[in-house]
Assembly symmetry: D2
Homo-oligomer: 359 residues x 4
Amino acid sequence: MRRDDKVLVPEANALVDRLRKLPILHDEMYAQQTGLYDYYGMSTLVLPSIPGYKRIIYTILEYNPLLDSSNMTPEDWIRIGKDIEKNYQSYDGFVILHGTDTMSYTASALSYMCENLGKPVVVTGSQVPIYEVRNDGRNNLLGALMIAGQFVIPEVSLYFYNSLYRGNRTTKVDTGSFNAFASPNLAPLATAEVDIKINWDTVWRANTTAKFHVSTELNSNVGLLRLFPGITAATVRAFLQPPMQGVVLETFGSGNAPDNRPDLLAELKKATDAGVIIVNCTQCLRGTVSLSYATGKVLLDAGLIAGGDMTPEAALTKLSYVLALKGLDLDAKKKMMGTNLRGEMAVDLAGSKLSLSDS
Amino acid sequence: MRRDDKVLVPEANALVDRLRKLPILHDEMYAQQTGLYDYYGMSTLVLPSIPGYKRIIYTILEYNPLLDSSNMTPEDWIRIGKDIEKNYQSYDGFVILHGTDTMSYTASALSYMCENLGKPVVVTGSQVPIYEVRNDGRNNLLGALMIAGQFVIPEVSLYFYNSLYRGNRTTKVDTGSFNAFASPNLAPLATAEVDIKINWDTVWRANTTAKFHVSTELNSNVGLLRLFPGITAATVRAFLQPPMQGVVLETFGSGNAPDNRPDLLAELKKATDAGVIIVNCTQCLRGTVSLSYATGKVLLDAGLIAGGDMTPEAALTKLSYVLALKGLDLDAKKKMMGTNLRGEMAVDLAGSKLSLSDS
Amino acid sequence: MRRDDKVLVPEANALVDRLRKLPILHDEMYAQQTGLYDYYGMSTLVLPSIPGYKRIIYTILEYNPLLDSSNMTPEDWIRIGKDIEKNYQSYDGFVILHGTDTMSYTASALSYMCENLGKPVVVTGSQVPIYEVRNDGRNNLLGALMIAGQFVIPEVSLYFYNSLYRGNRTTKVDTGSFNAFASPNLAPLATAEVDIKINWDTVWRANTTAKFHVSTELNSNVGLLRLFPGITAATVRAFLQPPMQGVVLETFGSGNAPDNRPDLLAELKKATDAGVIIVNCTQCLRGTVSLSYATGKVLLDAGLIAGGDMTPEAALTKLSYVLALKGLDLDAKKKMMGTNLRGEMAVDLAGSKLSLSDS
Amino acid sequence: MRRDDKVLVPEANALVDRLRKLPILHDEMYAQQTGLYDYYGMSTLVLPSIPGYKRIIYTILEYNPLLDSSNMTPEDWIRIGKDIEKNYQSYDGFVILHGTDTMSYTASALSYMCENLGKPVVVTGSQVPIYEVRNDGRNNLLGALMIAGQFVIPEVSLYFYNSLYRGNRTTKVDTGSFNAFASPNLAPLATAEVDIKINWDTVWRANTTAKFHVSTELNSNVGLLRLFPGITAATVRAFLQPPMQGVVLETFGSGNAPDNRPDLLAELKKATDAGVIIVNCTQCLRGTVSLSYATGKVLLDAGLIAGGDMTPEAALTKLSYVLALKGLDLDAKKKMMGTNLRGEMAVDLAGSKLSLSDS
């Protein structure tokens, strides 16, 4: 994630300098002829002319110090959210350059924080840095800018390797491929190959005319716990102990856990009784939590919320957002966790009528 | 997982009865004509004649009570291991029918427990029970039997949807598809479509003439901990507290963790100093942990072992196996965790020379 | 393709006999208890009870002699069409068992012949014969029967390897895999894995209340000609000579042909001037013919019709159908070739505005 | 395809000018400092420094006029071949920029023409022209140059969308995706994502120390004929008439044709008796021609050669090459068509023992 806080720190300005030398991402002649820098400042760049597109002018805001993706925290998400809010009226769209490692967490968090979003916020980055000769950063940035600058896709999305995904549906699936992200339970919002094709049926639109607002409260007492055979009650108890307030339990298959382990289930029940919200998500890459198994129903009885087809990233950041909401009691928050807020889960969880699944 | 302990429990014998009525999986006429039941007992079945194959005769051993996949524990793995050992000389191969939810954990655990394995052990199952009309169980069982009965693939493998995988390379990736398993970092050992094709170059063979033996000691003080942005030191401390002895840390991307979080790193260091073995595996589906990042190197400094391209399932069960080995000190066990034992990790972790990865 | 013309020929009745012995595909006890054979005759079978489904009863009509898929001709398509028409009122749906080699041609042809279709016609088959122990025929037939018997998908579809495709969108892409068919330019109509999921948005419905009718006139003077570098004018002339009346030209990329070959173009023009309808389809598996290239425009000038994203199979059989229609002049037929009749081509061929393709 | 014949034609030199302005593909500062132009001339460029790589200097040879891919002919292949031969000693490798439409034909033809090749010849291009802002040409050219300049892969290969394929194994499969090519029957020779990984086991090496030579004789009397249901004997006869000397027959499935069509088979037999070589290839994208069917055997009887798993492109250009070879009689040429020359077909066509295919 690289943005500019307007303090002149030479190293940190490396990105603007680099981009200015890439004719794909900046048209210096146009900038000179139109007095772009006088008007918008030295951190502003302009894409070359693209037939069928309006000129896309963009300003780089670079954070200082730059953050490694692995070091991102909820505080950094809030900082980004505030910057979007501050600049919301002045721009048609926003592109966030981010390291790939925690990109899906950031995109998920921002999707909840950005309430009543009416403009595109596109998170992108690269597997190989844009400073290398052979890299995927140029194309990812170019595509993200073209989409953010041209189409009204009012979502927090993630653009990578020629696909635009809903951000809170993504997960990083590959450490070594340019095709690093997947959206296992939702088709891409758009693909950008020879043509840019938008799947308008899939694009999410808030059913509201309410004003855009960034919620900057996030609860940090949340966690991800993955089930495994033989997990001890002690481990579960330790993980769920105060101040923990919200946990995503990564269960087996379609939302299953041992149903012959009263010790384990008692720990979960004790926690939910004490007000911890526990959301049941599958540890499988693809698919949804269903409620038709004995082994899944014991978790309902223990007070867990069914997380449907949410990714762990989407569920964790949703917990962080929902727990911090003001003026809602615990039941309202629990209900919210099982409700679709930003397209992060399928609305219709039925359809199980014809299901014949074995666990 | 369904096996028969020879006690006559009507419900539990449902599988043999069901299979006996499926002409695909049993040739009753052959059984009658050859006096099969007199010779092998009533739990024995025989596949129909298949051109190019010898007749495959198989006996069902069914556990009582049957276990739901979600309820499997290391004790159950030991029970299966002992049964393989007990029957090792009498059979050419072994097929284990198992629920899909924890199948990869079981296959991984058995791969370590089965030392100097010289015969095929194929784990299989189905997404839809074999008792349903439309199911994937018939084909999975038939394929597993044909492979176990005909080819010398002396591994603990997993057969699903026409592919044979090395068991400790698999993970369940889909709750709703028949193609439920992936082996993200290793090509299949075999595919069974119009032809059965074995990739003999990939099949693992122990470099030993030592006698087959099943190690039935497993350490249960192990766990899986997935990193996420904002994870607190308290959570990590709670998870690592005694009696925990081995932990798989699911890190970001190529093995990264925050390097600006001295509190977090101190907890990890404190644990490794106290003798906990922590293995660094990626939370990405595909790829390997590399050591070329600042954010990855801090984990080395904190005493973690690089887990290469092991799946979390393979790493967790390997910890359980290695920690229980007798006559090895902690350093030897740590070294073992970073060494390939059963084909569970790529031997060559170099090749990073030309890597240009960004995290 | 196996159907029964009611003549008692023992060998030909092998299929009914085989199916009757497969408990997956026939419930003999139910048949006996309900007097099924008395009522419907000895060629009738009944699927086992499936929760959530009504009982599916089906009658086998087997042709004699059986036809190898490679030997199918338009006359055989007509014969099938007539049998559908004859039995249309008596059944809720139709399943056609067909060899895989020419299955896409047959499904395409039937899609045009079946005018105002209001019931499912599902073509299926197998890569490995249902008489083999390990085969894909059982599951393909079972799935086809369940879909034809339960859902109102009033199309000529093709069911294979757990997917239901629009028949005229398919092509056989693999000689050795169970996953033998692809529908490169249209998503499946349905998938049948743990759940059966119908993509109702994709299912085609005729905008008509006209009566079902099978058109049994097909013109045989049609052909497929694939361009290749260096193709001679003599070859093209020979191929286009009378009595040829309709040709699918498999062109390069997005519908391109040499534009520096006046000899070649003259042959094409001469043919279209003489009344031959030539349809421009791409020889690429996936994609569409576009009209934005110089090399494509010369074909328009030569009188060719743009075939959009039709497969060669769909275009060839459409020619055969359209050329045989009564009461239409050549221009009307040409226009029809470029118009969507049964969902065989994308209605909207525009969207090329943002296209940047290089040939 | 763009190459430079050293005549100063402003438009034609557009490529060098364009590349010189792309810092990814040319390091002007290095060129100036090292006097590159003085030494190598103005058509020479140099890649930026890449850690782990030697500097890659490359000279553009541009043809005038530029050729559209659709207009390529065997004469153009010969011209390219001659230029490779002329410059063979002066360069470590060759990159050929080519339109995508006939790229697989060209790569296939060159693979035969380049006898005893000891250096990489990489064909590449783009779906979107390098002159567009968003294009795949920059990355394709960069990757091709890095591979041709750094690795000894002595094949005619095709580089596209981060994969290096054996050229004569490829076919264009998509008109609208950047991932336009497939190598359906052979895994890629290399992939270039975060790391460049060469599959050295797959790389073909001539078993010879004979001198490199380009065969520049190609027979143009060859053609591609695709079977379809109802094809008339007249069509086949017309296509096979003199001067046709070699034909690739694109058959159904695993190499099948109607066996109940004596008229058709007689035409084929008449042609092979008259000395036409007819090669049997499947019209399926993936798979191989097998000889185990009645419907396939009739083609053997008619004198056809089994083409194994060759693509139609590979088989057609092989015919063109083999027919032009001097000093071989017809039988020797026929035998050559069924023999692997440049890795274009699997050596081992057996393995059908366990095959259960249905057509």
